[in-house]
């Protein structure tokens, strides 16, 4: 179908807008139904999109009929449609959790959630770099409101930092875009990729400044050292469904890094070829290191999950630094795995926190759980997946990353850091599990509430994804391999998207 590639943006927009209007605006029950139906539609349409892209190849959707490079075009290729499907699946699972009661803390949870999904899907699909900025702003303003949703001192403080940092980031983004437009004269990413090779001398230096400013912005979104300080506090203070949805937000930054520094400033960029690599190498490795230290030092389950997000960001940035097809393929697989697994852990942490009375999710002595077997089983799966133990998807993802290193120098740096990161996670998870499940006194807390059916379903969906990613590992890695070779081939990722332009 011709219009299929815009559905992942239109569906959340329409459902979000409908929920702001009467009769839905005041009635939480009908909003919940609306949200579940909306995300289900989204899931189906993203799955159909992925299926069609897999059979018939890239779809270019020229908005308003304006041909690229003059109009804005949406590019549904293997990379973006995979990530759109990931977002839709995450959204569906998280909404299932939210309707258990986490959406009642304040007004408009569901519309804001939909608008954030729209921003994320738009950022993945767009083929125009200014449009990428606009979708970043859409997802950011929704995330600001979602983060402070239900209120509280901690949330206000975290939101204030998050908002100010991201507003400065947006300004830098625009500075970078201004420089790139001034030197290249275009904003269409495919067109930029073709034109950037012709730059030389002063204009090349200017464009390099712009490109590296963009790296700062994407690094801020992706929690790259030294712009990661906001993340643990922000994610730990957000309410559970919001934190779980935020698991995909760092991936938007990573995706933009892959898109911009592989396609535009990649091998074929002339004087500016691979400009991000010398920066990405040390920063990625340091991000893994600082994330692992954070993992070891985490005092509670939510902070632990947030620090694991930083470690996974670091691993993905290392893939971007290796800059090869195998590494990109590994990154895509690992991105799917780490998003779902960390989202699952955020939700699980909230379920546990509500059954432990005053101890919440901190690693201290507490009263016993109401549902120890269920939570223990879920915790074990989630820990195995995140540490990267066989037989779950974390293992496959990490092995793929380790295999992607090319020279012995790369191996010497990447292997120890990633393996030590896993060890840190293993130590922390075993310590956490021992305290959470075995160090109890007294009886069940009076305010403890057992997990609702929808909440269990949601966590089960996210955790089951991990074994499924392994069971269908062959097909999925084949797909990510094709997606990676598409991204690294300038013929397919740039020239083929512009009508009438040949190398």
């Amino acid at each position: 179908m011709q219009h299929l590639s815009i559905f992942p943006i239109l569906i959340p927009l329409l459902f979000g807008a409908i929920m702001l209007l009467p009769p839905f605006s005041k009635d939480i029950a009908s909003q919940r139904v609306c949200s579940v139906v909306g995300t289900l539609f989204l899931l189906v349409s993203s799955a159909v999109l992925l299926f069609e892209i897999n059979i018939s190849g890239v779809q270019v959707y020229a908005l308003g009929g304006w041909q690229a490079p003059f109009g804005i075009s949406l590019i549904a290729d293997k990379v973006s449609s995979l990530l759109v499907l990931l977002t839709s699946f995450l959204a569906f699972s998280v909404i299932l959790y939210a309707i258990g009661g986490k959406d009642k803390g304040g007004a408009y949870f569901h519309p804001l959630f939909m608008f954030q999904i729209m921003g994320i899907n738009g950022a993945f699909l767009t083929g125009d770099i200014f449009n990428l900025f606009v979708f970043f702003e859409v997802l950011l303003i929704a995330s600001y409101a979602l983060l402070i949703h239900a209120g509280g001192k901690q949330k206000t403080q975290a939101t204030l930092h998050y908002v100010i940092l991201n507003l400065v980031g947006s300004s830098l983004f625009l500075f970078g875009l201004g420089i790139l437009y001034g030197t290249l004269g275009t904003l269409n990413m495919a067109d930029m990729a073709i034109k950037v090779g012709q730059l030389e001398g002063e204009t090349a230096t200017l464009a390099k400044t712009g490109a590296l400013l963009l790296l700062v912005v994407f690094g801020l979104k992706a929690a790259m050292l030294p712009m990661h300080f906001w993340l643990p506090k922000t994610y730990a203070s957000a309410s559970a469904p919001v934190a779980a949805l935020f698991a995909i937000m760092t991936k938007v930054g990573i995706y933009s890094i892959f898109r911009v520094y592989t396609v535009i400033f990649g091998e074929n960029a002339g004087e500016l070829a691979n400009i991000a690599t010398p920066w990405l190498w040390p920063l990625a490795l340091l991000t893994i290191a600082i994330g692992s230290i954070g993992v070891l030092a985490s005092p509670s389950l939510k902070v632990l999950s947030a620090n694991l997000v930083i470690v996974s960001s670091g691993s993905l940035l290392a893939c971007a630094a290796i800059n090869s097809e195998a590494a990109t393929s590994a990154a895509l697989y690992y991105m799917v795995h780490s998003t779902l697994a960390s989202a699952g852990l955020f939700l699980l942490a909230d379920m546990m926190a509500r059954q432990r009375g005053k101890a919440e999710d901190r690693f201290v002595h507490s009263r016993p759980f109401v549902q120890p077997r269920l939570l223990g089983f879920a915790f074990a799966i989630s820990a195995l997946a995140l540490v990267g133990m066989p037989p779950l998807s974390g293992f496959v993802g990490k092995v793929m990353i380790l295999q992607a290193t090319q020279s012995s120098l790369q191996t010497m740096w990447v292997w120890p850091l990633i393996l030590l990161g896993s060890l840190a996670a293993l130590i922390t998870f075993s310590r956490a599990g021992t305290t959470l499940f075995w160090r109890h006194n007294g009886s069940v807390a009076a305010e403890a509430e057992p997990a609702k059916k929808t909440e269990i379903m949601s966590v089960a969906l996210l955790l089951l994804a991990s074994p499924i990613l392994v069971l269908f590992g062959g097909d999925i890695t084949e797909f990510t391999q094709e997606a990676a070779s598409y991204l690294h081939d300038i013929q397919s990722s740039a020239y083929a998207l512009l009508p009438g332009v040949t190398p």
Partner: protein
């Protein structure tokens, strides 16, 4: 013209960065506003500065690039909304946290006098 223009953008950016690094939420918001003004001027200049050239074909001998103007318009709208949000958030933080410091608690001051002048951290 280019010199003055560049100087203005640079000055606005410098003031914006200085103010965003201050400790009080009010000066930070003003700093963000200045930064967004600087960005808008900068984006406008990315289409090159030209005199006597309209953005519509056939209205003047030369025409200038219309795209930066469209970009600036988008950036102004977004910047305006974000500033409004930041102002409301700063007020909420003032109410929730009891002071207007961005960290939510005032840094320990060596003496009362510097406390009154404020915002040095």
């Amino acid at each position: 013209m280019e010199g003055i223009y560049a100087f203005c953008v640079g000055l606005l950016t410098a003031c914006g960065i200085f103010l965003t690094l201050r400790g009080r939420s009010f000066s930070v918001v003003i700093g963000l506003t200045l930064l967004s003004y600087a960005v808008n001027l900068f984006l406008f200049a990315s289409g090159r500065l030209k005199l006597n050239s309209a953005v519509v074909l056939g209205q003047s001998e030369q025409y200038s690039d219309p795209l930066p103007q469209a970009l600036v318009l988008t950036a102004i709208v977004i910047g305006f909304a974000m500033t409004a949000f930041a102002v409301i958030l700063a007020m909420r933080a003032r109410a929730d946290l009891g002071n207007d410091h961005v960290d939510g608690n005032l840094p320990a001051q060596p003496n009362e006098a510097s406390n009154r002048s404020g915002g040095n951290q």
